[in-house]
Chain length 211, copies 2
DNA sequence: TTTTTTCTACTGGTTTTCGGGTATTTTTTC
DNA sequence: GAAAAAATACCCGAAAACCAGTAGAAAAAA
């Protein structure tokens, strides 16, 4: 156990949340809330200068995306531990956060004790997830397991126009190519998404957030 | 100004938020946080008995929906002022909350002062919205202005099957009716959504949250 | 009970999509 | 510079969707 307290920085766009975290963390433990920010940029500058131990980082920020901020912080100050604190339960958001170097991920409904456990764990070099997040990571849906098809630029254009209800000839007209070309693109889209008609295609594409 | 303080009850599933609200509201103003709950049911029972002045109500609750809880509270204790405190910026969620009798709606990124203003306003009989909410209510998108078509039970069934990529004959088979009947339903769906083909239909239906 | 809505079914014809191929040119990537 | 990927284009036939109209039975609402 080191003599100095763990320095913690809070980054969250909700002042309510910041107050809550301060209140939950202040009760005589060996950590010190060095600063708190509602914006990403000033937080980044402060972190680069002061090099705190742990950052409680929200994903929704007014100026920049929390996932990008995470990557930037990890690049600038790799030894800083980042604990994501968000409401997002989507598996791919959690994965993006980890990809960006986060040391842990917790939902905002966490208890004060859970929070302290998380901070202690990441400070100790562990990767920490709250209970619900463990569940989400461990139980991917059938949909989440099959990979999102990689579409070419042209295919994305055609897909968007198909979803707008345009017919093959209309699309051909818009893109100044032969309708036969568009039919080929459509056939390839069906193949890539493993579907048999437009209805399924549009549904599959929306689920993969192409639309 | 009455001699007794305004009694406030907080209902939110996040202990962080509860702590934050307590911290922001406790600083020597004329209000008193009577109780706080992370669940709807115990909150409802308490409110029915103690009849507090103002309730800060979240929409996401573990046991019941905040919108339904609002309606129930207003039915049981109509004089109680309900101030919705949520992250939802969707116009139709706000509208549902108002429909259910809420006296105000604020986003969780509100400041301490904004919170106090809101509580004072609803206690004074006003309907209060934070700045962003005023914007959202006042600026409906083109999509939000056109009403959602009312579908019959059968049409909903057909729509769901169409979205699954089923063909007319397959649907007819599943519902044990003539394919010609299904074609009529499809035609009616196209008319109600004002679309010209399945692609548009599926898109329109997903936007209206039918799928 | 009357009226309205919903569900059902049909005729007949046009347009569009879908599935199986093949193949050349252009652009990227290695 | 060679190889791979993407975009282009074509043929053919079958299946499905789309359009316009009509209309009777059943269920729900007035």
């Amino acid at each position: 156990m080191s003599i100095s307290k763990i320095s913690v920085v809070i980054v969250d766009d909700h002042s309510i949340v910041i107050e809550g975290l301060k209140s939950l963390l202040e009760h005589g433990h060996n950590l010190d809330i060095t600063a708190h920010f509602t914006m990403g940029k000033p937080a980044f500058e402060f972190i680069g200068k002061e090099r705190p131990d742990v950052i409680l980082l929200d994903i929704n920020l007014p100026d920049i995306n929390g996932i990008d901020l995470c990557r930037q912080i990890k690049e600038a100050v790799p030894e800083t531990k980042i604990l994501a604190l968000s409401n997002y339960t989507e598996r791919n958001i959690i994965m993006q956060m980890l990809q960006s170097g986060a040391n842990g991920y917790m939902l905002k409904n966490i208890s004060g004790q859970g929070l302290l456990n998380g901070i202690a764990a990441v400070q100790n070099g562990e990767i920490y997830f709250s209970r619900e997040i463990n569940e989400i990571i461990g139980n991917p849906s059938r949909f989440e397991l099959k990979e999102v098809p990689r579409l070419t630029k042209r295919e994305k254009q055609v897909l968007a126009l198909v979803a707008e209800g345009k017919t093959t000839t209309e699309i051909a007209d818009i893109l100044h190519v032969s309708p036969l070309t568009i039919e080929t693109h459509r056939r390839n889209l069906h193949y890539k998404f493993q579907v048999r008609n437009v209805a399924e295609l549009v549904m599959a594409a929306t689920k993969c957030q192409f639309l």
